[in-house]
C-alpha cells in the first residue's frame, strides 16, 4: 500500500459518499408528495439522527455521527419545504435524459427511476411533478417501450427537447486504454457506435443505461472494461474520456417529451396526438386529409403496434389548439378517427 493507493481510495469513497447523499436527499424529497409526508419524513429524520448516535463506529463517534445526520436532516427538511420542481427520468444520474431535463429546466431536480414505466407511474401517481422520456432517435428510430406506454398513459406532453447525442468512451482514471476489451452501455448507444467498436476490436456489452454503465465502471473498476456514455457522466463519476464523439454518424439526435398530469399553460407551437383508425380502405388517409385541408404541417407520423393488425398512430403537427383552425381540425379528427386523443400542445426546444 502506497499513499497513492490511499488517495485513490479517498477519491472513490468521496464520490460514493456524495452520490449516496444525493440519493438520500432525493428519496426524502419525494416523500413530500404523500399525505402527511413532510411530517412523517421529519419524524423519520429525527430517528436517523438517533440511530447514527447509537450505531456510531470507532472513528465516526456518537456526537460526530449525530452532528452529520442533523445537518443532513436539516437540508432534507428544507428541500421538502421548498417549491423545487421534480422531473423523473429513466436511468442513472448522468443519463442523456437528465441532460435533456436540465436543458428544459436547469433548476428542477432530476430524479432517476429504473424503468420507463416507473417514470410514467411516478408522474401519474403524483410522486414527481414531471417526467422526461426519449421518444425518437435519428439513428436508432423509436425508443423501445416509450411510445407503446404513451398510447395508454393518461398524461399530457408539456414540452419537447431535441438534443444532439455525443457518445464518449470512458475508462477509470489511470487505466491503460490498450487493455480495454469490452465496452458497457445501453443497447441503443452500442448500436450507434458499432463501427467504432469494430475498429478497435471492442466487445459491446449491454447495460440497462449509459450512465448506469459509467457508474458501475467507476465503482467496481473491472479489468479491461470501458463504458459508453455522455461527457456529463464522465465528469459525474470521475472517469477518463478515452475518445469523444465515437458515434458512427454525425447527426445523432434524440427527441424527448416532458410529461405532466395537466396540460401546458402556454400555447406552444407544436401538438402531438394519438389515434386508431377503422380497419377499412382510406381510414388513415381521411384523418390526415383533415390536417392537409386546414393547411396544418405534419412533422411526424409513426405507427406503433397495438394488437396484431391494429396500430396506434402518433401524429405531431405545427400549431396550437388555441388557434381555431387547429382546434377545428382536431374536432373533425375526433369524429373521424377511433379514440383520437390530443397528447398536448407545447413548445419544442432544439439544442
Amino acid at each position: 500500500m502506497t499513499p497513492h493507493d490511499l488517495y485513490e481510495d479517498l477519491d472513490r469513497i468521496d464520490a460514493r459518499l456524495l452520490a449516496l447523499l444525493n440519493e438520500r436527499m432525493e428519496r426524502s424529497l419525494l416523500l413530500r408528495a404523500f399525505p402527511d409526508g413532510a411530517e412523517d419524513a421529519a419524524r423519520h429524520d429525527e430517528g436517523s439522527v438517533e440511530r447514527a448516535r447509537r450505531t456510531a463506529l470507532c472513528l465516526a463517534g456518537p456526537e460526530f455521527a449525530a452532528g452529520v445526520y442533523r445537518s443532513i436532516a436539516g437540508e432534507c427538511g428544507r428541500l421538502r419545504a421548498s417549491d423545487l420542481r421534480t422531473v423523473a427520468f429513466q436511468g442513472d444520474h448522468g443519463a442523456y435524459s437528465e441532460m435533456a431535463a436540465r436543458a428544459w429546466d436547469a433548476k428542477a431536480a432530476a430524479v432517476p427511476f429504473r424503468e420507463f414505466v416507473d417514470v410514467f407511474d411516478a408522474v401519474q401517481d403524483g410522486i414527481v411533478d414531471y417526467g422526461i422520456v426519449p421518444v425518437e432517435n435519428t439513428l436508432g428510430g423509436l425508443v423501445g417501450p416509450v411510445n407503446s406506454i404513451l398510447v395508454y398513459a393518461d398524461l399530457k406532453i408539456v414540452a419537447a427537447v431535441d438534443m444532439p447525442v455525443a457518445h464518449c468512451l470512458l475508462a477509470p482514471p489511470g487505466a491503460d486504454h490498450r487493455e480495454i476489451r469490452a465496452a458497457y452501455s445501453h443497447t441503443q448507444a452500442l448500436a450507434q457506435c458499432r463501427r467504432f467498436l469494430a475498429r478497435n476490436k471492442l466487445e459491446g456489452r449491454t447495460a440497462y443505461d449509459t450512465a448506469g454503465a459509467a457508474r458501475r465502471l467507476a465503482e467496481e473498476r473491472p479489468a479491461g472494461a470501458a463504458a459508453i456514455a455522455s461527457r456529463f457522466a464522465a465528469e459525474l463519476y470521475g472517469l477518463e474520456i478515452i475518445k469523444e464523439d465515437i458515434q458512427d454518424a454525425e447527426n445523432n439526435r434524440t427527441r424527448f417529451f416532458v410529461l405532466s398530469r395537466s396540460p401546458a399553460l402556454e400555447a406552444g407551437g407544436k401538438c402531438s396526438a394519438v389515434f386508431f383508425t377503422e380497419d377499412k380502405a382510406g381510414a388513415l388517409f381521411r384523418v390526415l386529409e383533415l390536417f392537409a385541408r386546414s393547411g396544418i404541417n405534419l412533422t411526424r407520423i409513426e405507427s406503433v403496434p397495438n394488437v396484431p393488425g391494429d396500430y396506434a398512430i402518433f401524429l405531431d403537427f405545427e400549431g396550437s389548439d388555441r388557434d381555431p383552425r387547429v382546434a377545428g381540425a382536431i374536432e373533425e379528427a375526433k369524429a373521424s378517427a377511433r379514440e383520437f386523443r390530443l397528447l398536448g400542445c407545447y413548445t419544442e426546444r432544439r439544442l
Binding site: 486504454h177 490498450r178 467504432f196 475498429r199 478497435n200 476490436k201 478515452i242 475518445k243
Partner: protein
C-alpha cells in the same frame, strides 16, 4: 527489384496520389511541420497555428516517442493524441503522429490522419501489418541502416494488407561521418521515383540534426523532386523536451517556406522551358 508486386514501379501507370483529409500527397510539394514531441496544449496549438500560417499542410507531433534511453521523455501518450486533436480543430491541419506499439495502432488511428512508422520500427513487421490493416495513410520512414530494397519491402508489407496509402520518408542513415546526426541520402528521391510509384518525402531535421543544414538540405530535396518535407518546428526550441537542437523557430520556418516556394517555381520553370 524482385517481389515488389505492389510497391514496385508500374510502367505507364500514374504515380500514387494520397488524399489526406483534402491534402493531395504526391501532387506538388506538401510540407509537414510541427514539434518533435507534443509537450502541452499551449506549445502544440501555438506551433500549429504558426506552421499553418507559414504554409505547412499537415501538423506533426509525437505522442508516443521511441527514445534511445528508457529514462528520456516517452511522450504524453493518449493525452498527447487529444492535444493533437485540439490542434487540428483549431487549425484544420491533418495530423501526422508516430505509432510504436501494435496495441496502439487503432487508437492512434482514431485521432491521427496519418500514422507514422519511425526509422527504428521500419522492420517491425507486426507493426507494419497492423498499420496496413488500419486502412489509414502511413508515413514510413527509412531505417537508419536499411537499403532501398529493404525499405520498399517494408512498404510492401503494408500494401499487402490492402492499404495502398504509403508515403516513404528519407531521414538519413548511419555512416562513418559523425559531424552530422545522420547522413541525409538525397539520392533516394530519384531512386524511389524510378523503383516505386509511392510518394517520397525528406526529413532534413533528423537527416542532419543541425539547424543550419535544414534549409540547404530542404532546398536540395526540392531540387531533386521530393514530394514533400517533414520538418521539426517548435514555438520555443530551447525549452523542448526532445530534439532541442534541431527544431526550427517559427520565424526561421516561415523564411524557409518562402524560399522553398521560390525554389520550386524556379525548378518547374526550368523544366518547362526545356520542354518547350
Amino acid at each position: 527489384m524482385k517481389d515488389l508486386k505492389l510497391t514496385g514501379s508500374r510502367p505507364g501507370a500514374e504515380r500514387t496520389v494520397i488524399d489526406v483529409a483534402g491534402v493531395r500527397v504526391g501532387e506538388g510539394l506538401v510540407v509537414i511541420a510541427g514539434p518533435c514531441s507534443v509537450e502541452s496544449e499551449d506549445q502544440t496549438v501555438r506551433t500549429a497555428v504558426a506552421v499553418k500560417e507559414a504554409g505547412a499542410k499537415m501538423l506533426r507531433g509525437g505522442a508516443f516517442k521511441p527514445r534511445t534511453s528508457p529514462y528520456a521523455f516517452q511522450g504524453l501518450g493518449l493525452k498527447g493524441l487529444k492535444i493533437l486533436d485540439k490542434a487540428r480543430r483549431e487549425t484544420g491541419l491533418p495530423i501526422v503522429t508516430e505509432v510504436i506499439d501494435t496495441r496502439d495502432v487503432s487508437w492512434v488511428g482514431e485521432y491521427a490522419d496519418v500514422l507514422q512508422i519511425g526509422a527504428r520500427n521500419m522492420q517491425n513487421f507486426s507493426l507494419l501489418r497492423e498499420a496496413g490493416k488500419s486502412g489509414k495513410p502511413i508515413l514510413l520512414k527509412r531505417g537508419m541502416h536499411s537499403t532501398l530494397e529493404e525499405w520498399l519491402n517494408c512498404a510492401e508489407y503494408i500494401l499487402a494488407e490492402g492499404n495502398g496509402q504509403v508515403i516513404l520518408c528519407e531521414r538519413g542513415i548511419r555512416t562513418f561521418e559523425t559531424f552530422t546526426r545522420n547522413t541525409l541520402d538525397l539520392s533516394m528521391i530519384p531512386a524511389v521515383h524510378s523503383q516505386s510509384h509511392l510518394p517520397i518525402f525528406v526529413d532534413p531535421s533528423h537527416g542532419t540534426g543541425l539547424l543550419d543544414m535544414i534549409e540547404p538540405m530542404s532546398l536540395a530535396a526540392v531540387a531533386a523532386g521530393a514530394d514533400g518535407l517533414e520538418i521539426e518546428v517548435h514555438i520555443d526550441p530551447s525549452s523542448a523536451l526532445s530534439d532541442k537542437d534541431q527544431q526550427l523557430r517559427p520565424e526561421a520556418f516561415a523564411r524557409l517556406m518562402k524560399r522553398l516556394t521560390r525554389a520550386r517555381e524556379f525548378i518547374e520553370e526550368m523544366y518547362a522551358r526545356e520542354e518547350s
